[in-house]
Symmetry: C3
C-alpha cells in the first residue's frame, strides 16, 4: 500500500474572504475544553475552517484541522489519551503539531500532516489565528485589562447566529436599535435623541452617546440596586462603543447619579460595566457570538453575575431573529444599496477597517 | 454620510414567471390583519415578492415591500404606531405609499422609496395586485355575489403547500380524484363514471359532471341533515367547477332529492354550496391555498359552519401529500410529458388561459 | 385531448454512476411488503431511481418506476386492488409490467409505459436489478447457504445512512475500527495487534484476522453463554470479511475455546456467526444498510435472536455518526488524497472490483 505524501498547506487567503485571516479570534471559552484522560475534544468551524480543539497532557490547548489524514474522519469524534488526540475511527494518534504520532501496527513517519492553528488561552477564552501561522503574534491579541483585575467580574454566553458577522458589528456599533429591539429592558427614547459621535482613533472605531438627566431603564435600575444606589434616581447615562479588529466590540455603558460627572463620576455614585462582544465568523453567513458583561461594582456577588447573565442573554436573544431575517433579505437583494446614516457611521467605519485589513493581507 | 438615492422600481415581469402579475390575488383574510396601535404587521411572500401587510390609522390595508430602506431589515418585524409602520430595528417610520415618513433625528426626504402594492379589501379577504400599480383596476377584481348576500354563510381556512399553484388548479378542475384521495368523505364511484364536460366561456373555464339517482357520500349526508332533508335519500348530485384568472376555482356542488330537477331543483329539496378556492402563488413551487365553502342553506347556523370547516379542512389536507409528492416527481423529471385526457381538460384549458395572460402582459 | 406516446426507456448507465447497475441489490425485506387487497405499496429510492414495490394477486413482488404516467403522482401513495397497483390520485390501474391496465372511462392502450425493474424474492429479502432488464440473470444473485438451512437463525434491521455506500464497504472491510467505535461491545486491543491479511479470490475480496488466546469481549461473552459455554473462557477469535459485488459484505466471526482449532474447531466448543451486510445505494451520498446476523448455534432460540438483534443494532448505530460526518468532511475536501494502509486493503480491493464492474458495463 502506498502512502500519500502531500503535505497540506495553509490555504492562501482568497479574494472571497469577508474577514481578516491573520488575527486572533475567540474560538471558545476555556470552560468548553475538558481536561484530562478520555476528554472529548471540541469541533467548531471558525472562519470557514473545521477545527478540532483539545487540551494536551499539560492542559495546553491545541487546534488542528478536523480531518484525520487516514480516512478523513472528523478528529473531533475522538478522545484524548496520554495528552494526544486519538481518532475515534481507527485509532490514529495525532500530535498537537498536526503530525501523526502513532497508529496501531503502522509506520507513520510519512503520513501527511494536517494543519495546526496557533492558539492562545487568555482571559478565560481560547483564541485562534486562522491565517498564516508564521505571522501569529501573541502581542497582537486584544488586551483586556478588566479580565486581569480582581475589581471586575465577568459573566457571558454564546449564541450561534445565521448571519454575516458584520451585521452583528453594525448592530453593536449603532445602539439606536435598543429603543426598538430592546424596548422592555435597556431601550429608552432618549437614546434616539442623544447626538451620536463617531471617531476613529488609530485602529479603533468609537461611537458614543451621552444622555443627561434621564430615568434609568429596567436593566439599569437593576444595576443601580446592585451598586447600592437608589433605583429610581435621575441619572446621566453613557454608551461608548469601541470596535477593534478583527471583530470585537467593547461597549462601556453605565449610569451615574445625575450631575456627578457622568462617565467621569466617582465609582461610589455610578454603576458601570463593559458589554463584551467577540464576534467570530463561522461561514460567510453565520457566526459565533460570544457575549458577556464585565462590571466593576459588586465584583464578588456571584448571584448578581448570574442575574445579569440571564438578563443580558434574554436581551441579546432579541437581536437574533432581526439579524437572521435581515441576512435573508440581503441575500435576496444582493444589489440593493443600503443607507449609511450618521447613526450607521460606527458600523461603516468598522467595515472600512475590516476591508483594509483584508486588502493588506491579500497584498502581502 | 451619503444617502442612497436610487428609487426602487417595480420589477418588470420576466419570462420566468409562471403566473400573471397584473391580477388580483388573495393575500390574506381580513381577520389576519390586526387593527390599532401596536398591531403586528403580517409578512407573506406573494408571487415571489416578500410583502408586509398592515392597517393604517383608518384601518385601511397597506402592502409594501418587506424591506426597510435603511438597513434591509424586514418591516414585518416592526409594529404600527399612529397608523404608520415602524421598523422594529432602528425606528424608521414608513408611510403606506412606500415613502419614509420620519426617523429619529434624521432627514428622510431623500431616502429611497420601497415598492407599494395596490390592495383591495373585499369579501372578507385582502387582495393584492403584484404587477404594475398603474394598471391595477378594482373593476377586475373577481365578483363574488355569495359573499354579499345574507342568504349565504362562509367558512374556510388556509394551507401552505409546497407545489406549483397550477397543480392545485389541475387538482380542482378534475374532481375524479375525489374517488381516490377522498374516498372516505366526498368520493364515490359514480364520479368516475359520470361523463365530464369541459367548456370555455370567455375568460372562464367550466368543467361539470351530473350524477343522477345516487346515494349521498358522507359529507353530503351531513349536508342533507343540515338542510333538514333525510340523509339516506337517493339524490342527484352535481359538480360545476369554474376557473377564473388568475387562479380562482369556484365549484358549485350539491345534491337534490332525485327527480326534482337536480341542480335546478327548488331550494327546499336540495343542499348546495360553493367550494371556494383562491390559489395564490408564493414561489414557483409553493403556494397559499385559501379554501372554504359558501352555502345558501342554514346560513345562520354558526355551529354548522364550524362543522363544515372542520370536515372540509380534513378533506383538503388529504390532497397535500399527493400534490407535494407529485411536485417532487415532476421536478425530478422535468422533460417527462404528462397525459392530457378528457378528465384533464379543465386543468389544461385553465393553464391555456394562464399562459395567454402571461404572454399578453409580457408583450405589453 | 392528445395522448403522449413516448415510451420511457431505461436510462443508460452514465459515467457518473458510482455503483454497478447490472446487479442484484437488496431493496427491502419480504416483511416490508404487505400482502392482499388494499395493501399499501412501498416507495423507496434505489440506485438513484424512485421505485414502488408491491405484491400482485399471487403475492409476487413487482417493482415499477414510482411515477404515474397520467400526471406524475407517486404510485407509492396508491393501493393494491385485484392484484394491480391503483394510483391514489385518479385511479389509473397499473400492471406489473409497467403497462396501464385500465382507468375509469378511459382507453389506455396508448398510454406510455413506465419502467419495470426485475426483482427476485429470496432469503427473506426482495432483490432488485436496477440496470438493463434484458441482462437480469437470477443465477447472478448472491447465494446464501445459511439462509436455506434450518441449522441457522437470522435477525437483522435496516438503517438509512447519509453517506456513499462505499464508505460503509470500507468500514466493514477494515474491522480495526471495532476497537475504537465499538470499544464497549466487540472492540478489543488484540484486533489492532493481530496481523491482517487481504486476498482476492475471483470476484471475492477477503480480509481476515485471527487472534489466539484472548479474552472474549462483551458481545462474545453473550455468544458463549448462548452456545452453552463458559463466558469467561480464554478463546481464539476470528474475523473473515468477504466482499462480493455489487456491495455485500459477509463477515464470519466467532470464538472457540482456545487451542481447539479456532475457526476450524468443532461446533461444540465454539460460538460463531455471520455478520450479514447488504449495502444498497440510494443516491451518491446515501444508502440503505440492511444489517443482520446469521448464527448456527441455538437456532431455535427466538429470544436470543431478539437479544442479538438489539445488541447488534446498537453497535451498528455507533458507526452512523462517524460515517455521515466522514462523508461531510470528504465532500468539503474532494481533492484530498486519503491513505491506503494495509488495514485499508479490503476496502481498496473491493472498490477496485466495483470500479471494474462499472467500467465493464459502460463499455458494454
Amino acid at each position: 500500500m502506498q502512502q500519500a505524501e502531500a503535505r497540506t498547506q495553509p490555504q492562501t487567503t482568497g479574494p472571497q474572504n469577508t474577514w481578516p485571516q491573520n488575527a486572533w479570534y475567540v474560538a471558545c471559552t476555556s470552560a468548553e475544553l475538558a481536561v484530562g484522560e478520555g476528554a472529548k475534544p471540541l469541533g467548531r468551524q471558525i472562519c470557514g475552517e473545521r477545527v478540532v480543539f483539545y487540551r494536551d497532557g499539560e492542559g495546553r490547548v491545541a487546534a488542528l484541522e478536523d480531518f484525520c489524514p487516514h480516512r478523513g474522519a472528523p478528529l473531533s469524534l475522538g478522545f484524548v489519551r496520554d495528552g494526544h488526540l486519538v481518532c475515534g475511527y481507527h485509532g490514529l494518534v495525532m500530535g498537537c503539531e498536526g503530525r501523526t504520532v502513532s497508529m496501531p501496527e503502522q509506520r507513520v513517519d510519512r503520513f501527511p500532516t494536517i494543519r495546526r492553528f496557533p492558539t492562545i488561552e487568555r482571559y478565560g477564552f481560547v483564541w485562534i489565528w486562522p491565517g498564516d501561522p508564521e505571522r501569529a503574534d501573541p502581542a497582537k491579541l486584544h488586551h483586556l485589562p478588566w479580565a486581569e483585575s480582581p475589581d471586575w467580574a465577568y459573566g457571558g454566553g454564546l449564541y450561534h447566529i445565521q448571519c454575516d458577522y458584520r451585521l452583528m458589528v453594525d448592530n453593536l456599533m449603532d445602539l439606536t436599535h435598543e429603543t426598538y429591539v430592546h424596548a422592555g429592558s435597556i431601550g429608552q427614547k432618549e437614546i434616539d435623541e442623544a447626538p451620536v459621535e463617531t471617531l476613529v482613533e488609530g485602529e479603533e472605531v468609537i461611537t458614543r452617546r451621552f444622555m443627561e438627566g434621564v430615568s434609568a431603564p429596567p436593566f439599569w435600575r437593576m444595576g443601580l440596586r446592585g451598586a447600592g444606589l437608589p433605583e429610581d434616581s435621575v441619572v446621566d447615562r453613557w454608551q461608548i462603543c469601541r470596535f477593534n479588529l478583527p471583530s470585537h466590540v467593547m461597549i462601556e455603558v453605565g449610569v451615574a447619579l445625575t450631575g456627578q460627572g457622568g462617565y467621569a463620576a466617582d465609582r461610589s455614585v455610578k454603576a458601570s460595566s463593559i458589554v463584551v462582544d467577540f464576534i467570530t465568523p463561522e461561514t460567510e453567513t453565520s457566526h459565533w457570538y460570544f457575549w458577556g458583561m464585565a462590571r466593576n461594582f459588586a465584583a464578588d456577588d456571584a448571584a448578581l453575575t448570574d442575574t445579569i447573565r440571564e438578563g443580558q442573554g434574554k436581551i441579546f436573544s432579541e437581536d437574533l431573529e432581526m439579524l437572521e431575517r435581515q441576512q435573508q433579505n440581503l441575500l435576496r437583494h444582493p444589489d440593493r444599496r443600503l443607507l449609511k446614516l450618521n447613526i450607521d457611521a460606527g458600523g461603516v467605519r468598522s467595515r472600512m477597517l475590516i476591508d483594509k485589513a483584508i486588502r493588506e493581507e491579500q497584498g502581502a
